[in-house]
Amino acid sequence: MLAEGHDVSCLDEDPDSHARLELGLDTSWEDAGGQFTVGTGLEIDALTTAGIERADVFVASTNGDNTNIVIAQIAQRRFRVETVIARILDPYRAEWYATQGLQTICPTRTAIEMLETSVREVAAGKEEDA
């Protein structure tokens, strides 16, 4: 997103994650125009420091479904961010929160679909061979 000319600010509770952002970059993350804040999404101060008040899009993609669902709703209801996307692994909950006005991405569902497609392709290939 940074390479496409967007302003990107990243919030992570682990300071070491900063190094991961610089993989494949010639310069530092900051020199490339990025912002990095150490903190959790439940801390209002951290969200504000990261610039949530001027964000057009907010993505909640920590490794915890519950955290993502809570902070996505904070971004939506408290900071009125226009587009909020939450990563939810649990397909059932992803489905329900989607009906509650949250944009959800369910990697589990996506993986299932890709696996099904692959299996079908292999099966179809075998039928043709036969």
Partner: protein, 238 residues
């Protein structure tokens, strides 16, 4: 505390089998309620199960199917008391918004998370830190003031105030007082006895009064009734 509401024979779901959840389950079962306790830690589940038997369910209540298997659809109340605020918050949110459970109670472990419970409409919530803080305030009335009732939406509150040793109102009759507009004294506790004051009542140092008021005049009223003159001098901003 909630006397009338907890009448016997209701189905209650408790999430979290720690000390709070387990004891709560035990008390509610004693009172004749049907209770299911959900615990996500296998070892803890096995411990609690020895006593509560079939009334404990093993599983992560963040997952909807676990709540459904526990029969959330017919639950009259859901109480989320795990050690994780996000879990408690979301379990109560889906209980209310998805399954239509009328009454939920959430435990707040970190008082800083209270604002998130408010934001997502999960009320009431219980914070042990707050409860202890309130008890301390009662025992050690640093500001001579205890909040009894706080109806933020209705813009009205009731506070418990200690009349200071050198307060300017000591020795004066109620009708002489210049109470801030939007405040009223409703009772006086003196030497262990309470009474409703009349315009002739003379306030004494050490009186504990209850006042109903608009929260906006709280500071003014506290200064007027509670604080000793010396204290006011030291904090001109207050």
């Amino acid at each position: 505390m909630m006397g009338g509401q907890v009448s016997g024979g209701e189905y209650m779901l408790i999430v979290g089998g720690g000390k709070v959840g387990w004891n709560l389950a035990r008390e509610l079962i004693d009172k004749g309620h049907e209770v299911t306790l959900i615990e996500s830690d296998r070892e803890r589940y096995l411990t609690v199960e020895q006593e509560l038997e079939h009334r404990v369910l093993y599983g992560d209540a963040s997952e909807l199917w676990v709540l459904e298997r526990a029969g959330i659809a017919r639950a009259g109340m859901v109480i989320a008391v795990t050690g994780d605020d996000e879990d408690n918050l979301l379990i109560c949110q889906v209980a209310k918004d998805k399954y239509g459970v009328d009454r939920v109670i959430a435990r707040v472990n970190n008082p800083r998370n209270r604002q998130h419970f408010e934001l997502l409409g999960v009320k009431p919530y219980v914070s042990a830190t707050d409860l202890i803080l309130r008890l301390i305030e009662r025992q050690v009335p640093r500001y001579g003031l205890v909040h009894l009732l706080d109806l933020a939406d209705a813009k009205i509150e009731i506070i418990d105030l200690l009349i200071g040793e050198n307060a300017q109102v000591v020795g004066r009759q109620l009708h002489e007082l210049e109470m801030p507009k939007g405040s009223l004294l409703i009772s006086v506790m003196r030497e262990g006895t309470g009474f409703v004051p009349t315009p002739d009542t003379v306030l004494e140092a050490g009186d504990e009064v209850l006042a109903v008021l608009d929260p906006r005049v709280e500071e003014e009223l506290t200064r007027y009734l509670g604080l000793e003159e010396g204290t006011v001098d030291r904090t001109p901003d207050a």
